[in-house]
Structure formats: structure tokens, C-alpha cells
Amino acid sequence: MTENTSFDVDPLVENVSPEPAVVVIAGDYLNKLTGEKIERECKDKLDAGAREIVVDFSQTEIINSIGISILLGVIDNAQMAGAKVVFSDLKPESAELFDMLGLTKHVTLQ
């Protein structure tokens, strides 16, 4: 299959003052390649001063273990930077899984 290109950080970055927030759209399938890109770019935004990261799951159908690991990385980086993580439009099945694995403890659901 072709590389997943539905994820792109830059055009979707919104800087909302006074609290700079970054919106990240997780693609339809969060795999290692796209996932590690998300993680890296979130880190860059955090380093650049972002105080909130919103991960938009409206297009996301499948999240496997690698996807979970990536999201844990995003959460960890955000926490270390003292930033907040928001998951938006999470499908119920995903929410259940996130709950079970403890991710929802560290994020705000929207």
C-alpha cells in the first residue's frame, strides 16, 4: 500500500493565544512510520513552546500496539514539558482500549 499521507502536522497547526495549542490529525491507520513522524513533530512543537496538543482521531479506524506506544510517547513528552494532551473524536472502541491501558488517565477527552 502507499504510504499513509493523511497525517500532516504543519498545515493543521493552530496557534491559539494565549495558550499555544497544536492540533494533530492521526491518520486512518497509525503505524510506525506515520506514528514516529507524529511523535517527532509533537516534540518539536513542545520545544517551540506549545502548551497543548490536541490529537484528532476523527479519521482513525485502527490503532494497534505501535500506535498506542506512539501516543504514550506523545503523552510522556507533553507531561515533561508541562503541556496538556487532548484526544478528540475518539471512537468508542478506541476509548475503551485507551481506558483499559491507562492512556485516558493522562489526557482530556473531547
Binding site: 506506544s69 504514550l72 510517547g73 493522562h106
Partner: protein, 424 residues
């Protein structure tokens, strides 16, 4: 247990994916990184690392880390006591807090605490430590349950196998490299011995000093011209260097006789091919034809040679090559009773004797090689070095060779076929 089943299904999915990843034998580093992702994602583990164990250095060297920060050591020392305990423990999760009695957990206590390392799993495959897993806290903040530890160990076993496979591969590569080097050394030793032998043979024959060495070189030039493989070329050169080894047993005064020797002396001298064969037969050569070349290097296509008076097809090909090289050197060097012949005369001799003494395709290959050097088509100056510049620059030599070649080989395909059949 019922409410845990989706969690189990999720974890087993990760385990299956990990098995796939390891079986796929992708890039090793990538496999390990993916493995760590799968393990973290399977159970919601916030941070961790995979290390490979170096038995020689007694070190756990990190291959992949997630969320451990810059301060976490990338190489952790393991002492004999730790090693022993890990082996006794087997591939099972060790609680980092409870294991404080071990030096390993004392030494790195600060690092482990800072990054909340809760579990360490020594990766033991076939009673050998191959690596280790370092796992931080779960996202839920709850302690690891026993079934989670089991899943971790199952995944750890896959990762351990991947590391172990990698180690084996590296070992095989190292051995084959060692073998190659060893073989190379042997080959060089053999080549040096051959040359030393050739020099020893030549020492006995003061009038034809350097004969064996030159015949070795001419033989090599012909083999090259025939486009033989590097190994065949080396074999041919060896045959040339050693062709007269039988002369070592011939009385010095016969070899060095400054006159045409008589029948009795001649009979003595003519034993040298068979004696050479006996000497060389006793040695194990990397090239099979060396003894045969010595035995038959005085045979002629027309059956008038010695020792067996073989005809064309009965003569081993390598012996024909050495015969040409040998005769060429005899014609182009001064002998006790005879001065060297002019280059043009030598060409003429070769042409006239092609089909009688010499295999025509070999004469063609040989002359073609000389001509190419004369016309500077090659950077090689081998013939010039062996024959002297003046000799090679004799007037009319190039046209004489061209003429001989045209007479011997009206089409070039002939030489090609000859070269091919010779290399079999």
C-alpha cells in the same frame, strides 16, 4: 478475568505482530525498535528499553529506548554475581525494587528510580544471557499483574531470539572472514614457496639464469590472453614456475655443459620431466595440473616429443601452454652453445612450428599478446620487461607478427573458441 479479556486480545495481537516482525528478518535495529513499540503498546507501558548483552565486556548495551531521557546510561555493567543470578532467574521478570540485593540494581538505583524502572527481564536464550528488557511504570499506574508479566516474558523471548539470531549471524560472518583470510595466507605462502623453488631450480643452471621464473611469467601471460579465470591463471603460472623441477636431480655438469651434450647425457637430461612429475605428484597443490605440466612440457603436437611421444589431443592442455612458454624462453635467451635469436626469427619459428610442435591457438594468443603490447593497446610492459626494450623494438617486428597472425588465424573467432575449450 472476564473484564480483562479485551486487554488480553489486544496483548496477544501485539505478541503475534512481534512474532511476525522477528520472523521477517528485517533490519535488526528496526526489528528491535518495533519490538519495543509493540511491547509498550501491548500493555500501556510508559517507558522502557531493550539492551543487548556483551558477554565479553559484561555490559548491557541499549539497542532501543523510549522515554528514558538523556541521562539514562546506554551501557550498563554487569558483574559476575549479577550474571549468575540472572541465569538462575531465567527469562522471568525481576522486580527492580525487590532486587536491590544485587549489585546491578544497587549501582543503577538512581537511574532506575528517576525513570521509574519497575521491571528488568534478563533475556536468556539457551542458557545464555543475550540481552535485557527495562520497563518503566504502566500508564494506569497500577503494578504489573502476573499475567502481564507472562506476556512480557513471551514477548521478551521473541526479542531474545532476534538478538541471538543476530549474534549467530555476526559469528558466522566473522568465521567466514577468518577463513577467507586464512585461505588467502595459505595461498600466498604457496605462491611464495613456488617462486622460491623456481629460483632454486634456476640457480643450478647458471647459463639459463631466471629460466623457470620467466617461463612462469610467459605461461601466465598466455593464460591471461586466453581469458582464463584468476585461479586458472595462477595455476598456469605455478605450472610454468615448476616445470623444470626435475632438473634438480640432473647432474650440474650436464645442465651447464657449454657444448651440445652427447646421447648419454641427453638421456639423463630427458628424465627431468618424469622426475619432476614424481616430485610434484607428492605435493598437494591447489591446482591439479601442475605435475602433468612438468611431465609433458617436452611433448610435441606431432608426437616427436618426450618422454611419451604423445600426440596433439593426448597432451594435457596446460603442458602445451608451458611448452610454448618454455620454447619461447629458450629461443629468446642466450644458451651456452647458442646466442639468442632475433625477435623476427622467433616469430617466424613460432609460425612455422604451429601445428607441429605448438598448438596454433596458443601461438596466436601469445603473438596477439606481444602485438598488443607493441601497439601499446595495453598498459602492460611485461614482454618488454622480460625481453628487454631493444629486443622488443626490433624493426619490422609488429608487421611480422601481424603477418603470422593473419596466416594462423584468418578469423578471430578461432582464437576465441580455442580459449574457451582451453579453460575447461
Amino acid at each position: 478475568m472476564i473484564e480483562q479479556s479485551p486487554k488480553l486480545i489486544h496483548a496477544f495481537g501485539a505478541l503475534a505482530e512481534l512474532g511476525q516482525e522477528v520472523a521477517n528478518k528485517n533490519n535488526f535495529q528496526e526489528t528491535i525498535r518495533t519490538s519495543l513499540h509493540l511491547l509498550s503498546g501491548a500493555l500501556g507501558i510508559m517507558r522502557g528499553g531493550v539492551a543487548r548483552y556483551s558477554r565479553y565486556a559484561r555490559e548491557m548495551n541499549m539497542l532501543a529506548i523510549r522515554g528514558l531521557g538523556d541521562e539514562f546510561p546506554l551501557s550498563l555493567s554487569v558483574c559476575v554475581e549479577d550474571e549468575r543470578q540472572f541465569l538462575t532467574n531465567g527469562l522471568n521478570a525481576i522486580d527492580a525494587h525487590a532486587a536491590r540485593v544485587l549489585p546491578f540494581f544497587q549501582v543503577y538505583a538512581a537511574s532506575f528510580e528517576r525513570r521509574h524502572i519497575e521491571l528488568f527481564i534478563p533475556l536468556i536464550i539457551r542458557d545464555e544471557i543475550v540481552g535485557g528488557l527495562f520497563l518503566g511504570e504502566k500508564a494506569t499506574g497500577e503494578p504489573y499483574s502476573s499475567y502481564e508479566k507472562e506476556i512480557i516474558c513471551a514477548m521478551g523471548r521473541h526479542i531474545g531470539v532476534a538478538i541471538s539470531q543476530r549474534n549467530l549471524l555476526a559469528e558466522i560472518e566473522r568465521h567466514s572472514e577468518e577463513n577467507r583470510r586464512l585461505f588467502e595466507d595459505l595461498r600466498r605462502t604457496y605462491a611464495d614457496t613456488v617462486k622460491a623453488f623456481a629460483t632454486a631450480i634456476d640457480c643450478k643452471d647458471k647459463y639459463t639464469e631466471g629460466h623457470s621464473v620467466r617461463v612462469g611469467k610467459y605461461t601466465e601471460l598466455i593464460a591471461r590472453e586466453l581469458e582464463w579465470s584468476p585461479e586458472q591463471i595462477e595455476g598456469a603460472a605455478t605450472a610454468g614456475y615448476l616445470h623444470d623441477v626435475g632438473k634438480l636431480t640432473v647432474e650440474r655438469k650436464i645442465i651447464n655443459a657449454p657444448y651440445r651434450i652427447n646421447a648419454k647425457e641427453s638421456a639423463e637430461l630427458n628424465k627431468h620431466p618424469s622426475v619432476g612429475y614424481e616430485i610434484l605428484q607428492a605435493i598437494h597443490h591447489p591446482f591439479t595440473d601442475v605435475p602433468l605440466a612438468a611431465k609433458y612440457h617436452h611433448e610435441r603436437l606431432d608426437g616427436r616429443g618426450y618422454p611419451d611421444g604423445l600426440y596433439d589431443r593426448e597432451i594435457p592442455y596446460i603442458a602445451k601452454v608451458v611448452n610454448l612458454a618454455d620454447s619461447f624462453d629458450a629461443m629468446t635467451t642466450d644458451r651456452p652453445y647458442k646466442a639468442r635469436r632475433a625477435a623476427i626469427d622467433v616469430v617466424d619459428d613460432l609460425r612455422r612450428n604451429a601445428g607441429k610442435q605448438f598448438a596454433p591457438e596458443l601461438v596466436i594468443a601469445f603473438l596477439r599478446g606481444v602485438l598488443r603490447e607493441l601497439k601499446s593497446e595495453t598498459k602492460d610492459r611485461r614482454f618488454r620487461r622480460l625481453l628487454g626494450r631493444e629486443y622488443m623494438e626490433a624493426e619490422g617486428l609488429a608487421p611480422a607478427i601481424t603477418g603470422a597472425l593473419n596466416e594462423l588465424a584468418p578469423t578471430s573467432s578461432l582464437t576465441y573458441i580455442a580459449a574457451r575449450s582451453g579453460s575447461e
